[in-house]
Amino acid sequence: MHLILFLIFAGCCLAGAINLLVQTHPINSALSLVVVMVSLAVLYLLLGAEFLAAAQIIVYSGAIMVLFVFVVMLLNAGREERTLGSRAARVIGLPAVVVLLAVLVTTILHIQGLGAATLRQGITPTQELSRVLFHELLLPFEVTSVLVLIAILGAVALAQQEGSKPDGEERILAK
């Protein structure tokens, strides 16, 4: 059962990631990224991380991808264009990525003593997770909340219109 679920959702993951590369319109890439993230949530559940599976769906495919789709629609992003620079990136980047993948795969295949994942091993309870998070790691948690607050303020400050150029927002709204 575990093997079948793994094969199905790993296939969905890889298909979504390849589709993200193949599609030329950003909205299609965003939707295939949602497929990747939901499949990853199922894989987290298979590995016993139930809280992370829920957080993956809520935070990634819920919040972040909605933000992406919203920006794609707001900026009216069209199909991408191929230029001379992309040809150079393809010539140099493709062999580099193949080498990177080969190095990663050989490293992983040489790891000794990795176990196997079964459905019998049970699920990490969220109580245990929250006990460690709020007792041992309380300071990093609070620092991260400050980071998120700063990010919110930064996003508002960056996206807000400058006073000297009021025509930009009207142009975007007019589209």
Partner: protein, 106 residues
């Protein structure tokens, strides 16, 4: 029947993670749209999260899962700021093609 009850080696999860990371790098290098480049970065973060969860499962360590939680929060902050920067770039240049955004001054 034995095929159904078979366990999955954890190295398969790591191989999937490596494949997703490589596809993310490939998208980062090949895509020419600023938003799609940003999505490739999110794909790489997800691939690394998968290997974190795999190793947390291997060593029965809760802290590996908590690290993934922190990565998710930082990724959310990064997405908010990054998309705001993309909106600001689009207002200044009126384009999202990365090849045309090659000057630092306006």
């Amino acid at each position: 029947m034995s095929f159904i009850q078979q366990d999955v080696p954890l190295s398969w999860y790591l191989l999937l993670s490596a494949a997703l990371f490589s596809l993310g790098v490939l998208g980062f290098l090949l895509k020419r749209n600023l938003i799609t480049v940003f999505m490739s970065i999110e794909l790489m973060l997800n691939a690394v999260n998968l290997s974190f969860v795999t190793f947390a499962h291997q060593w029965h360590a809760v802290k590996g899962q908590i690290f993934v939680f922190f990565v998710m929060m930082v990724a959310a902050a990064e997405a908010a700021v990054g998309l705001a920067i993309i909106i600001a770039i689009f207002r200044a240049r009126n384009t999202l093609a990365v090849d045309r955004i090659d000057l630092m001054k306006l």
